[in-house]
């Protein structure tokens, strides 16, 4: 009996490289490698959906550009998020400095008012 038949019941998740998918859709893979990828497609729900969708892109030469475009936008998002975190941290630091200055000023004003009151009332330390 041929053990390959057991593959019919398989359902495992194997990592797929973007470039390998592009090569497959552009017909640049050897038949045996294509068959392996097709087998993974049959075993993996997400890949089945994804391949169905990708096959709808008629001009497969555009797939590389599409992948690049999406990755660039992702990098921009990451950079924006990093800057946002920096801004928030900067703002938090600024807040601490402002709060410290305000507290010192408040203490000085209270001391001044107390001293003034004591002087007016003729009280001494």
């Amino acid at each position: 009996m041929n053990k390959n038949l057991l593959d019919i019941l398989q359902s495992k998740e194997v990592p797929i490289e973007n470039q390998q998918v592009i090569d497959y859709l552009q017909g640049n893979l050897k038949p045996e490698v294509s068959q392996e990828l097709e087998q993974q497609e049959l075993e993996d729900e997400m890949m089945r959906d994804a391949m169905d969708g990708l096959r709808e892109v008629e001009d497969t030469s555009r797939l590389e550009m599409i992948a690049r475009e999406m990755n660039q936008t992702l990098q921009k998002k990451l950079a924006a998020q990093k800057n946002k975190h920096k801004e928030v941290r900067k703002w938090k630091d600024m807040n601490w400095i402002s709060l410290s200055i305000a507290t010192v000023l408040l203490i000085v004003v209270i001391c001044y008012l107390v001293m003034k009151y004591m002087k007016k009332s003729g009280l001494h330390f």
């Binding site: 019919i8 019941l9 797929i16 998918v21 068959q35 089945r48 994804a50 599409i66 999406m70 998002k77």
Partner: protein
Amino acid sequence: MTDQELLKLYASQKDQQLLGSLLQRYSLLLFGVCMKYLKNEELAKDGVQQVFLKALQELPRYEVTYFKSWIYMVAKNYCLMYLRDHNKHVPDELKEQHSKVVPEDNEREEKLEKEELLELIEQGIETLNTEQKDCVTLFYLEKKSYQEISDRTGYSLLQVKSHIQNGKRNIRIWVERRKVV
């Protein structure tokens, strides 16, 4: 490095770039999923960006055990909401929201003796119609690609895929039933 290893590393180092690397692995597949349901390249690209955004917001906050299943579910949810919001037809498969969150369990199959299982599969193949039987045999036994099967049988690529997919499903159902008996 696997997805889980990358997520663990992110959990300890909190480096957003690690999340970026992880998401980048799925950019094309996510585009394909969105393309399948939204049927428009620009909408699909927007969909992927929304999925990325959600992932970047949620992954630092929650622990995700099966990343691939999780990101797939996020993408399908986005497409579902988009189609509903725009009063477009929602395919039945998208309505089944609880897609598998964990990889399918093959334990039960492993419990059965391999020889016994092979025999059941062989019997299952015999129950298929001619098209499915031909395609399944060429694909799984002779390891032929869709293109090679198409060249040999004269079926279109889409038909080949469909025959294999349906044949596989029918064999699985047939074997399951036999195991219960």
